[in-house]
Symmetry: C2
Subunit: 346 residues, 2 copies
């Protein structure tokens, strides 16, 4: 089953999305539906010499980057974003990929594709590099003002994403907090700490901001407000460091010569840390896949977002998440029933 790609989303639409899709089809053998304005998408395909190679699903409307998140639900029901979600809901696509309006993509995916039974709120995850592999950070912006049960759901989703999609055998899960001892942090982190101890997941306790990138844990769980701040500041820092390194190199003849010699090294380094390898985040907890890419994604970033969506579709994440959450709920009910019985007989 194909991946639905929003051809009209992002700062460089439709060019980046179409080119990314063409590359993913040619190089990775991905099956793709390009969703957007047929004339414009066909023109892009023609420019790339790929006319007729990828199926197009025509969409009359486009959700602008600055329109309200509710737009694809209330106003633009024929938008490419909404149609991508419809294709996943109707079982015509396994997953959708969009570099368009993030808020609108999240709302369309949640309301059209729907959440896994038992999941209250889908969470946007980011997969970031660490020295030994990759870390899943969630939520990075879909939810603010999360309750303890939401963070417990995020832990379940992050666990299965790390295990099934990234191939981490027994993902270590931490709560992002300030101070590592159980009593440290906010009321929210303390309640989540208690809730995660009985999930059967490999919960390691509170972690701090430094653990997002050091590989000490595989999944970091937090409210979307703090996760968003951490992710965006990290992206901006990485960019600043690369800029400063380039400036220093360009400022001297020795630097330039050294750089020329070491260029393959720098290129490999850039690939390891480049956001375009990591920039597409999965919206987890849905009855299907949804990957949200950076607005500024180039063709390479779109290609890797499509790859992530294919990897995701080869797993049955929705079922695993649903079963685990059902198990946690029935465990709670038994505890509550036990508590009531204890109170009655005690």
């Amino acid at each position: 089953m194909p991946i639905a790609v929003d051809a009209m989303g992002g700062d460089h639409a439709p060019q980046s999305a179409v080119e990314g899709a063409v590359r993913a089809a040619a190089e990775d053998g991905a099956a793709i539906l390009l969703v957007g304005d047929r004339t414009r998408v066909e023109a892009e395909l023609a420019r790339l010499g790929a006319r007729g190679r990828i199926e197009i699903v025509h969409a009359e409307e486009v959700v602008g980057m600055d329109e309200p998140a509710i737009t694809p639900i209330r106003k633009k029901r024929r938008s490419s974003l909404r149609l991508c979600a419809e294709l996943v809901k109707d079982g015509r696509a396994q997953a959708m990929v969009s570099a368009g309006n993030t808020g609108a993509a999240m709302v369309a995916a949640k309301m059209v594709i729907g959440t896994v039974a038992g999941v209250d709120r889908p969470a946007l995850a980011a997969v970031v590099p660490n020295p030994r592999g990759r870390t899943v950070l969630l939520d990075v912006g879909a939810n603010i003002g999360s309750k303890p049960n939401h963070l417990r759901e995020f832990a379940v989703m992050g666990h299965f994403y790390a295990q099934e999609v990234l191939g981490t055998p027994q993902p270590r899960i931490g709560i992002l907090s300030i101070g590592e001892e159980e009593g440290k942090g906010t009321e929210l982190t303390r309640e989540v700490f208690r809730a995660l101890k009985t999930t059967g997941l490999h919960f390691v306790g509170n972690v701090e901001g430094g653990d997002v990138f050091n590989g000490e844990v595989d999944v970091v769980v937090c409210d979307g407000f703090v996760g968003n701040a951490v992710l965006k500041s990290a992206e901006s820092l990485a960019e600043m460091l690369l800029t400063m390194l380039r400036e220093e190199v360009a400022a001297s003849a020795r630097g330039k010569l050294g750089y020329t010699l070491a260029k393959p090294v720098f290129d490999r380094f850039r690939r390891r840390v480049d956001y375009s390898e990591y920039g597409a985040g999965p919206l987890l907890g849905l009855n299907g896949g949804c990957f949200i890419a950076h607005g500024r994604s180039n063709a390479r970033a779109m290609q890797s977002a499509i790859r992530r969506a294919v990897e995701f579709s080869n797993t049955r994440l929705d079922r695993k998440i649903r079963d685990k959450i059902a198990e946690l709920h029935s465990q709670e009910e038994r505890l509550l029933a036990g508590g009531r019985q204890g109170a009655e007989t005690g």
Copy 2:
């Protein structure tokens, strides 16, 4: 007036603190009081050939890195940390510097040195590099669960720190939020947004995590929970990137040769981004200076923390903060009185 340096605080105490103090005295002409166990401090000074060059204030006790924050107040009243704060309070030192237990240093400074009139909570600030200069991020961990009036105080403190200590003529101030429009974010950020519009400071609105490092604003204001997560994740990311760059360079002969040629460039780059240039954060809002350095600070990091403390002491930050906060309070009272009068006569 001298700077009181906690000789016993930090992972490499007393070695790093004493060596940093010796360098600051010799290279920067800083006047210093080394506070700690006289025998151990003298031994370090002797080892460095600097015996008798720096005055020692003997302290019998040491607050351990894992002891409760209240320790210097309740239990170890003769600790080096507590004595540093006493020296500032008594006007025998202008400012204190410690790489010891951060929580304990903050509590000792707040309770012994005391806050500026009108300031409810001191804030720990971090000064981070951006491509064009430096950004002040606060609070990074002194306060969790901040109220809107606290964030307004942080904005005032950050403004004067940027202006008086870093030399930024008209600091641009942003609130760390998710989404940049006025209505975006949490209840806290929305209330702070309203409160900052009438302060007369150069308030630019909501900013996102990316703006902490891109130089678009000079001061970023947030609650300590999110500020701590952003700061610690950024430090860890910068370290990881440098490690990965070294790994890539070491993996090939070309890389090594290129690196050797470009070494001065790399050294300059490291200096620009090295935490030891930035790692000491001022605790703002006190009747005196307090700089809190990383626990793992080396001698160079301690020397630069002492430099920051000297720069700070050459300004009259406490007075400026006090006057501005008094002005904001009287402005509020006038508004409230106007409102009451309006209600009575209207």
